[in-house]
């Protein structure tokens, strides 16, 4: 009957529309998941840049402080060398005298365990 086929047409069209609705929902789902990846990338990149910046500041600070410590160490060394020189100059002749007097102070001895043979 004509009305039957019309009814079936209507149902078929309704099915078609329903399937389209669901297909679109699935399309949206895919898009959303892709978005998840992109947004995650963006956030992560943000975080990375921030950490990078922090690191660069730390690095620069470390380099700077090294220059300072080098200067300090040099100053300390120069001071130590100065003290050494003064001490040396002051005590040199005394030590020389003592050394030479010991060189000239010869005490010939033979071995403590020496026994005359026979």
């Amino acid at each position: 009957m004509a009305s039957q086929s019309q009814g079936i047409q209507q149902l078929l069209q309704a099915e078609k529309r329903a399937a389209e609705k669901v297909a679109e929902a699935r399309k949206r789902e895919n898009r959303r998941l892709r978005q998840a990846k992109e947004e995650a990338q963006a956030e992560i990149e943000q975080y990375r840049l921030q950490r990078e910046k922090e690191f660069k500041t730390k690095e620069a600070a470390a380099l700077g402080s090294h220059g300072n410590s080098a200067v300090e160490v040099d100053r300390d060394t120069a001071e130590r060398l100065g003290r050494l020189q003064d001490s040396y100059r002051g005590n040199r002749s005394a030590v020389l005298g003592e050394l030479l007097s010991r060189v000239c102070d010869i005490r010939p001895e033979f071995h403590a365990n020496y026994r005359v043979a026979g």
Partner: protein, 226 residues
């Protein structure tokens, strides 16, 4: 027919509405699930990457610390070496000066002959040999002979045995040394080196801790001195 056209249409309308309703519900379900999955996935990705980045930068921070420490250690080491080198140079300077002054002492005949007597006797006592050869500088031969003559009776008296001394007239010590003698046993295989240089070296080596303390002061890091 049991159903009229109007009834059929109504049924069909109901069925269409039902189909539409189902589809809408399904679509809503899909959307809701999608949203949930979106959040989970995004959160997961962010977290895993975040952890990786944190580890990476922590490692780099540690590297910087290490680097700093290494550089500091290098600086300290260089400084220490510098000071030690300076001390070593000073001691060398001292010993050179001592050698020069020793040469002057050797030029004084009275002191030098006393020295020679002592050096010779010490050499004899060290060897305790019946036959002995002496090497000296060419210019000292006479003084050495005199000293030997003085020493032989002293030796015989102390050691209670005889000694025959010969001065090597062929091989002399180089003339540019400060002075002193070398005493050999009869086959020349045992030597007592009693030149002024070797004596100076010996004394310097034995006295080295004392010299260091006298010149540079005691070591503040040393805990035990016995």
């Amino acid at each position: 027919m049991a159903l009229s056209d109007a009834d059929v249409q109504k049924q069909i309308k109901h069925m269409m509405a039902f189909i539409e309703q189902e589809a809408s519900e399904k679509a809503e379900e899909i959307d809701a699930k999608a949203e949930e999955e979106f959040n989970i996935e995004k959160g997961r990705l962010v977290q895993t990457q975040r952890v990786k980045i944190m580890e990476y930068f922590e490692k780099k921070d540690k590297q910087i610390e290490q680097h700093k420490k290494i550089q500091m250690s290098n600086l300290m080491n260089q400084a220490r070496l510098k000071v030690l080198k300076a001390r070593d140079d000073m001691i060398t300077d001292l010993l050179n000066e001592a050698r020069i002054q020793l040469a002057d002492i050797a030029k004084d005949p009275a002191r030098y002959s006393t020295l020679l007597e002592g050096l010779l006797l010490q050499g004899f006592y060290q060897l305790l040999e019946p036959k002995v050869t002496i090497r000296c500088r060419q210019q000292d031969v006479e003084m050495v002979q005199a000293a030997v003559n003085k020493n032989i009776p002293i030796y015989k008296d102390a050691v209670k045995s005889n000694i025959v001394v010969k001065i090597d007239q062929e091989r002399f010590l180089p003339s540019d040394i400060c002075g002193g003698v070398e005493v050999y046993n009869d086959n020349g295989k045992i030597k007592v080196s009693n030149t002024l240089e070797s004596r100076l070296e010996l004394m310097a080596q034995q006295m080295m801790p004392e010299i260091r303390v006298a010149l540079f002061g005691a070591n503040p890091n040393r805990k035990f001195t016995d």
